[in-house]
Symmetry: C2
Subunit: 320 residues, 2 copies
């Protein structure tokens, strides 16, 4: 668990316990879902929902189903992502796809998502929660499908990228912190700044992820470097390099190429780095972090506010 979670450590343990239990109940192959759970992860979405809830009448019983559901939705998309990428390793452990194949991955992803929806249906007194969760889940799939259908398309611009990142990552993160506040009855004036904060750290989170795919080493990342390039996913550094690289045509050719060998992947990475695309992308991420922190300024001075600030800093500085 991250150090910065200090104020919600006990609460997160309750969520973790419940996550494990939910995943094992009525699951004919419990190991399919617990393997991913046990492999780790930051539990960013549950943590954010707990922190949002601290701005209302915090009640761990009230917030746990939402916190669990948010992590489940995230897990479901990871399992399906690994089918798309044919990934062998996630968080340093074998993927469901690698151990059980495509069919189990498809069904277990939907199983986990249905578990989330069942938990969410408990908030029947607050219809906004199920409305937002259903809508966000839909848009997450939209982002994923758009990513696949646009892969290897070097004609994409920054607008396509942000459209996708918002759907793939930012919407669920902003819903986490916003709905945490909603579930525990925080004042209406709190919802929007929390939502905007979540959106900004979500965007920064994915941009950083996309940079790390070109920068980090495999051991830190828990997966091979350059995997976006191999899959034809056009990320911010690449889009910047399309515009700025002196060897634009060669880079476009490499990006469009379906099967790249190790040398070609390395060549593309170097072309991207050489034109300052990494620095530029870090700057964009940092702008989102600054904006996220600004959103917090008007909120009551609770310990949760400080933790939200630390999470923004963590995303800004993260190296894995």
């Amino acid at each position: 668990m991250l150090d910065i979670y200090d104020g919600i450590r006990e609460d997160l343990l309750v969520v973790e316990q419940e996550l494990k239990q939910v995943l094992e109940t009525h699951n004919p192959l419990p190991e399919t879902s617990t393997s991913l759970l046990n492999a780790g992860g930051k539990r960013l979405r549950p943590a954010l929902s707990l922190l949002g809830a601290k701005f209302g009448h915090f009640d761990i019983k009230e917030i746990t189903p939402l916190a669990v559901a948010l992590e489940l939705i995230h897990m479901a998309t990871l399992i399906h992502d690994d089918v798309v990428d044919d990934s062998k390793i996630r968080r340093g452990a074998p993927t469901v796809k690698a151990r059980w194949g495509n069919g189990i991955s498809a069904h277990i992803g939907m199983f986990i998502f249905a578990k989330a929806m069942e938990l969410i249906s408990k908030y029947e007194a607050i219809p906004l929660i199920s409305n937002v969760i259903a809508n966000v889940s839909l848009k997450m799939c939209e982002g994923e499908i758009q990513q696949i259908s646009a892969s290897f398309d070097s004609g994409q611009g920054v607008k396509d990228y942000f459209f996708r990142v918002k759907r793939k990552t930012a919407l669920l993160i902003s819903a986490s912190v916003q709905l945490g506040a909603v579930a525990c009855g925080a004042g209406g004036n709190i919802h929007l700044p929390l939502y905007r904060y979540g959106n900004c750290i979500g965007m920064a989170f994915q941009i950083t992820d996309d940079i790390l795919d070109l920068e980090a080493d495999q051991r830190e990342l828990g997966k091979p470097v350059g995997s976006d390039l191999r899959q034809g996913i056009i990320t911010l550094p690449l889009i910047y390099a399309f515009a700025k690289s002196g060897q634009r045509n060669r880079l476009m050719q490499l990006a469009r190429q379906l099967d790249k060998d190790e040398e070609e992947v390395q060549e593309a990475i170097e072309l991207i780095r050489d034109c300052g695309a990494i620095d530029y992308s870090f700057k964009v991420a940092r702008k989102y972090i600054e904006k996220a922190k600004q959103e917090l300024t008007g909120l009551p001075d609770l310990p949760a506010k400080k933790t939200l600030c630390l999470i923004a800093d963590f995303i800004d500085a993260r190296k894995y």
Copy 2:
């Protein structure tokens, strides 16, 4: 559209229009879902929900989101099923798996399911609807996963089979007719008989499906005969034959065998037929049909009641 749908033909056209529109909205690859829709299908679940609604204050606007959501959930599981089976053909058309691969299939299945949950979230005044739908969806996945994890296991009995059939098929069908009544405010005394009717025709439907997999010809079925045997799915005729066939050991060996050639599949089918397993299974299905009709006897004499009866007869007699 089936002849027996006469009384709800206009209403089903409204549902069909809405289905098409829902599947195309915010879908970066609309063809992935409309290809399955356009390939046909009986629209049994929407039809049942409309018929259930006729026992209340029928309002097409009120019932359409539910009717659409029920078909979407069914479609989502079909798309994921085709990943498991590696099916090339469904309803005579190429599957999503065959045309777009495993990754798109996984995401589009969840996309369609999320669409269903978004539609269901509109029934915020009747929390029972979202509770039942989430729970049924969960159990459908449970049934599918159980089926995969128990494949090629010749030690299964009738109990395992019914556990699975209930989850895979009967629960969504019974929810369709029950929730149709709930959504349009039918009296509480109507819900349970409709639920039980749905459960019985659902069980009969799947048993008949499993018989047809051994009996029908490929043209009628829209997919190859004997596919359950090839995938190691242990169905009722096979379980009966394990107990009654004079060549029990040979049949068990064939059932357990991972890769069967065409000759071995035909040999297994003949062993199953020869011991009367098909007749026995048809009898079990017919018992469910009779029970389904009995459940209807106490209901008000509306045209919808007659249609429900015709649907039971259709399932009893169906050859595809």
